[in-house]
């Protein structure tokens, strides 16, 4: 009865390559390669060590957030407070150190704990009230945005952290978050790039190879069904919100210790960039489908386009137009690749 032989007459030919191409991230990968080649061939500086370290740096912080946001989106939720969180943690550490002279490591830890608490609160509100996370985290976003602006002004009288470099032990966390390896002629690979790679790897492992990963897919795909087969929905969702918050903290630290400053409006408006990168990387907005590597490629595409346009010397007024056209192009290519793979897998 169960004649499950390898060669089933109900399947037409199938190749290994097309199986790989069927993964959610494959399209974004192809699109990233195309865009890299385009700018490498049309501009002088893009593919040099100096050029590539610039767009790698730009992509890295966005990439870390995009990966976390992708996990959350696969789990069926949004976090609009993710962008403001990067500013919040950075400002908090900056204020605690420059204004109140707190030990820098303690300040960093305090920021992490607060970020996790806010993430947990987001998750708790979403699960307890039954409101869409889009709205709940929008509320948190507004609140954080106000706190960032008014709090910073009230406490240090200006809207940007200054004098961070003079804080004792500044160099220790700077090594961890803000240092760079020189590379090639004038390139420098920043710490945030390594963090990015690490975060992507861990997220991929969790998604593909752990129980929690299985649950994340199920939460986004059909929460009711997941609940019915015994997935701990509540805990898993709160964990996801805390993950994005933690990523926000990480990016806040990376920003603070590389530039030694953060502004009150840092990160505002970025929340959608993260979502965009995740979607370009193959995540479904409705949840239940996507990958961490895809989000990383999405961020890479975004970063390359953003800097590539600068290298091309096009009028910056048109920047957004080029960005829009390239994004659309990348997503279309992405979709096309996936369709082709579906058809001939």
């Amino acid at each position: 009865m169960s004649t499950a032989t390898a060669a089933d007459e109900r399947i037409s030919g199938s190749s290994k390559i097309s199986k790989v191409l069927k993964r959610p991230e494959s399209g974004a990968m192809v699109a990233a390669i195309v865009i890299f080649l385009w700018f490498a061939l049309t501009t002088d500086a893009f593919a040099t060590s100096g050029g590539s370290s610039t767009w790698l740096l730009g992509s890295s912080t966005i990439g870390i957030m995009a990966v976390a946001v992708a996990l959350l989106m696969i789990g069926g939720e949004f976090d609009l407070s993710a962008g403001a969180m990067t500013g919040f943690t950075g400002l908090l550490v900056g204020i605690l150190c420059t204004e109140y002279g707190l030990n820098i490591w303690v300040a960093i830890l305090v920021a992490l704990v607060l970020a996790l608490a806010i993430g947990a609160l987001n998750g708790f509100l979403v699960m307890k009230t039954g409101l869409p996370s889009f709205i709940v985290t929008l509320g948190t976003f507004f609140v954080l945005q106000g706190v960032n602006l008014a709090g910073t002004k009230a406490l240090i009288g200006q809207v940007a952290i200054q004098g961070m470099a003079k804080v004792p032990y500044y160099d220790q966390p700077r090594t961890l978050f803000g240092s760079a390896f020189t590379w090639g002629e004038n390139g420098s690979v920043y710490a945030s790039v390594f963090w990015w790679v690490g975060v992507t790897a861990i997220a991929t492992w969790i998604l593909m190879r752990t129980r929690v990963g299985n649950w994340i897919f199920a939460l986004g795909g059909a929460q009711q069904s997941a609940r019915q087969v015994g997935v701990p929905v509540f805990k898993a969702k709160i964990g996801l919100f805390m993950t994005t918050a933690a990523a926000g903290w990480l990016v806040g630290m990376l920003t603070l210790f590389r530039t030694s400053t953060v502004q009150a409006n840092t990160g505002v408006g970025q929340e959608f960039i993260y979502i965009i990168c995740a979607v370009v990387g193959g995540c479904l907005l409705t949840g239940g489908y996507g990958s961490a590597i895809g989000a990383t490629f999405g961020a890479l595409i975004y970063g390359m386009v953003n800097q590539g346009i600068v290298y091309s010397g096009w009028d910056s007024n048109w920047l957004k137009t080029f960005l829009g056209a390239m994004l659309l192009g990348a997503v279309l290519l992405n979709e096309w690749v996936r369709r082709r793979a579906e058809q001939s897998r």
């Binding site: 002088d44 500086a45 040099t48 100096g50 050029g51 370290s53 610039t54 740096l57 730009g58 912080t61 945005q145 960032n148 602006l149 002004k153 200006q158 809207v159 940007a160 952290i161 200054q162 004098g163 961070m164 470099a165 004038n186 920003t255 590389r258 530039t259 030694s260 400053t261 502004q263 009150a264 409006n265 840092t266 505002v268 800097q307 600068v310 290298y311 010397g313 096009w314 009028d315 910056s316 920047l319 957004k320």
Partner: protein
């Protein structure tokens, strides 16, 4: 491009002047948000200078210091012949600017960064900080008899705008900030109206951009308040309103000058090794436009160069 109605010459970014091509490339990197009228004039000035000298000018901007520093890095990687940069948040740009200087690329700072340009190794600084202009405006408003004022901020958390208001408040006294949503004129007008209705003792409104001055004038009319309106930056409509007395004055920081002189300084450095200013900053303004001199600037305001 546009027909010959006396407007500014065609200003594509990568202009290679009508006469010669010097083969020089300068990057102008500012902390402006997109579509900001003030910085648009800085850009126009820089591009005009580039066109006149046959140099290529690449203008880019980002209000986030992390991204602005990446733009500087990009310029260094592209091996430009000089960089003009506005340093609203000097700490955030320090590393990148110093790297550029170390790579042998001359740097000129404009608009803000007066305190730090020397430390970072820039040739000179052009323009005055937002603080100087703000203080001048505050003092003038006070001299005109203002008792209580609001400063309308159209972009939350913008370092430059905050600094303007702060300096104006220092010189004026009772001045309060009002945050509005600059991308929705109806909301700007409504917010200013509300504020004037809520507190009838407000007798002065300071707007930070030409567009918002118009909204403020409408709001004053609607709320029945007698408040005076003053503004940063010019536009055709602002000049018209100054002439008709609805706006008492506008402060012109002469952004065009900042862009034009920035590129000019670099050009002189390139072709002649000059260090303009000799290590001292160069002031670009501010100039006040009132009913008396409005007619003179009207023509330039219409062109979008003042």
């Amino acid at each position: 491009a546009c027909s010959g109605t006396g407007k500014e010459e065609d200003s594509a970014t990568t202009t290679t002047g009508g006469t010669k091509n010097s083969g020089l490339t300068y990057a102008v990197i500012t902390h402006s948000g997109p579509g900001d009228a003030f910085w648009d004039r800085v850009k126009s000035g820089a591009e005009k200078a580039g066109a006149d000298y046959g140099a290529t000018v690449q203008y880019n901007n980002d209000p986030d210091p992390a991204k602005q520093s990446q733009l500087i890095d990009s310029a260094v990687a592209s091996k430009v012949n000089g960089i003009v940069v506005s340093m609203a948040n000097p700490d955030g740009l320090e590393e990148s600017v110093k790297k550029a200087v170390a790579a042998g690329i001359p740097v000129v700072t404009i608009n803000s960064g007066l305190d730090k340009f020397k430390d970072f190794g820039a040739i000179t600084h052009i323009g005055q900080s937002e603080a100087i202009a703000g203080e001048a405006v505050g003092a003038r408003l006070k001299a005109e008899g203002g008792k209580k004022a609001i400063c309308v901020i159209q972009e939350a958390g913008n370092v430059g705008l905050e600094e303007r208001c702060k300096a104006a408040a220092t010189a004026f006294g009772a001045m309060e900030n009002l945050q509005v949503d600059g991308t929705d004129d109806a909301a700007v007008q409504a917010s200013v109206t509300s504020k004037l209705q809520a507190d009838p003792s407000i007798d002065t409104v300071l707007a930070l951009g030409g567009q918002y001055a118009i909204d403020a004038v409408n709001a004053v009319g609607e709320s029945g308040s007698k408040a005076k309106v003053a503004t940063f930056d010019l536009s055709e409509d602002v000049v018209t309103n100054i002439e008709s007395g609805k706006i008492s004055f506008a402060v012109d920081q002469q952004p065009y000058v900042q862009g034009f002189l920035g590129v000019t300084t670099l050009y002189l450095k390139s072709i002649n090794g000059n260090d303009v200013g000799g290590g001292q900053p160069i002031n670009s303004g501010p100039a006040f436009v009132t009913k008396d001199n409005a007619a003179q600037v009207a023509e330039f305001a219409a062109k979008g160069t003042r």
